[in-house]
């Protein structure tokens, strides 16, 4: 594993990310813009799912409306996140906040799949304002909580690996 990490770190991209003085802050800036977009847009859907805001908007229509910009931002966050990782692969790999962050994102993905393939099956009954089932509310609450923790872990990574 560490051989692979060392190879990533000494690759042309890893070297550029570590050495060029503007590369890291520039990529980090795009990362911040991307993650704030992802989390903010997901939160709009989560709050609708929990039944706290925007309840007159059909859930399926709302998630379909916000999904394209969310995915674009998520892909951008993934690419920039990977680039940031290449600057110091071993340091990040060994960092506890980084590991927790990846685990939380995996959980968010599982939560999304469970909602999409199980909970949403009978969405016709509650899409347009009927009582939202507990499983759907739980999915929204979990998603909101997980993404908030992802941001916290992300900030902690910066604090435990670098002076910024």
């Amino acid at each position: 594993m560490y051989d692979l990490l060392d190879a990533i770190g000494s690759s042309a991209i890893g070297d550029f990310m570590a050495v060029d003085p503007s590369a890291f802050p520039a990529v980090e800036t795009v990362h911040v813009i991307a993650i704030t977009t992802v989390i903010g847009l997901i939160a709009i859907v989560d709050l609708r799912l929990i039944g706290l805001a925007g309840v007159s908007y059909p859930i399926s229509r709302l998630s379909r409306a916000l999904l394209p910009p969310t995915w674009i931002a998520f892909i951008l966050a993934g690419i920039t996140g990977t680039l940031l990782f290449t600057s110091q692969p071993v340091t990040y790999f060994d960092n506890m906040a980084f590991r927790i962050k990846l685990a939380l994102m995996l959980l968010a993905g599982i939560n999304m799949l469970v909602f999409h393939y199980l909970t949403m099956r009978n969405i016709a009954a509650w899409d347009r304002g009927g009582p939202i089932p507990a499983a759907a509310k739980l999915a929204g609450l979990l998603s909101l909580s997980i993404w908030i923790l992802v941001v916290a872990c992300g900030r902690w990574i910066g604090f435990t690996t670098a002076p910024f």
């Binding site: 980090e28 813009i33 977009t37 908030i148 941001v151 900030r155 902690w156 604090f159």
Partner: protein, 161 residues
Amino acid sequence: MTQWINELVTWLETTSVHQTMQTVEWAVPAVQTIHILAIAAVFASSLALSLRTLQLAGSDWSPAQWGRRLDGWIGWGLAVLLVSGVTMICGEPARSLNNFLFQTKMLLLLVAIALFLALSRSVRGLVQPEQRTPGGVRLLAILLVSVWIAIIICGRWIAYT
């Protein structure tokens, strides 16, 4: 730098918030996390409102309905940004207040608030979901998102200058 900023820096360094931010290990990342979450609320809400105004997403609701849904989040988000931002300034007043990018950011923030108020007022009249948005309102939407991107860029680079 101007005299009043130096006096403000000296005074802020005597406050208890400054002491806490300097000595409590987790205080800075905790406040930064709150700040980023508030940016997520404000920026993504501004983006969603702008996408709707530009007729790119969310056509089930009129721009006026989107405005009613998101205005509060942008307003309260701005309030949280202000409180967490002031807390971070108290932590390192000399580094932030004297920084050119910080000063630019504050100027852009005033522009963003003015743009948001103008857009929020304009969408109130757009009550028909299928109604075409006037060019001026579209321009407001594009400017609002652009200025927020510029603010985030300044914010991140303050740490590196």
